[in-house]
Symmetry: C2
Subunit: 209 residues, 2 copies
Amino acid sequence: MKKQKISDAVIHRLPRYYRYLDDLFNKGVVRISSNSLGSKMDITASQIRQDLSCFGEFGQQGYGYNVAELRSEIGHILGIDSGHRLIVVGAGHLGHALLQNFDFQKLGFQIDSAFEVSPALIGTSIRNITIRSMDELEEYVTQYRPDVAVLTVPQHVAQSLADRLIALGIRGFWNFTNVELSTQEPGVFFENIHFADTLLTLSYRISRS
Amino acid sequence: MKKQKISDAVIHRLPRYYRYLDDLFNKGVVRISSNSLGSKMDITASQIRQDLSCFGEFGQQGYGYNVAELRSEIGHILGIDSGHRLIVVGAGHLGHALLQNFDFQKLGFQIDSAFEVSPALIGTSIRNITIRSMDELEEYVTQYRPDVAVLTVPQHVAQSLADRLIALGIRGFWNFTNVELSTQEPGVFFENIHFADTLLTLSYRISRS
């Protein structure tokens, strides 16, 4: 694998490649040209070749890509086989929806546990994940060392909770709080989900059509 | 306003511009240079100037951008002042979370109503929005003509429900079902939310750090 600085734009396209390849794989498609893949994904074939060249040599002139192989290679690049373990912090409606419906395992994430402050929810379970009291957070994370926290808590506690979790060794945040989290700690990553951005994109399209 | 084909990349950056400018505006910042805005957003100043030039003339050499003005201009481009009205279809945990916490109004969307099949939820209300039976969908949409549907329903009903809603005149779908929806109907837009993409981006970053 070449060592080079990969741009954010390329990194953000990788999951899309994986999604499309996974879909083709599940449909039993064996190979695909960069042209066909590009036309499905609404990007150019040369963009695909350029993106993938950041990570090595893929595909074969005149043959295209082997779908199963490329899917597995991109999955590997994305760390799907890294055995990440996560906790869900906040089991209100959004946390509940993710715990109940989101297929973490398919993306290589194991859900370790969930935490919540509401007494009505503590002790209940969703798809076999028991919801614990937030008071157990320190002890649990220190003992079991998950990598990632899904944050679905109210905005006013988001940053302080992130700071607590970073001090305990959490390195990745899947952040649904709509607060732009930050830290001085190196090697900690935030994926801030901004629902508003996609609704505004939709607003743009229907306003101009 | 110049008439030209605006690329998807530019369209996807517009809501981010709006979000940063709105934040600056709320903090009382009066003006900002393209350099400072770029460094906050982790893009180049020339990218900003190029993006904005698709929509007209903004800012002033040596002065920068007036935050309030640019925020309002970009809001206008995004259609925030178009008076869009939406319905939420599916009031399970995710629909409930959006109805309860998401600030639709701030983005110029008025929530008209919500629909659900579960008898336990029909007739209840969330932040003054009454949840109606899915059986009332046709009559309601025909009568009140909302523009947009938020889809938070199970996957197996997503496409057929979208088809029903398109036939009734819905033109925009904020689609949380993780099903790639499509239609032959012109002038209908889907924003498909793929939670998995952002979790995989996070996986990539922590796997490589």
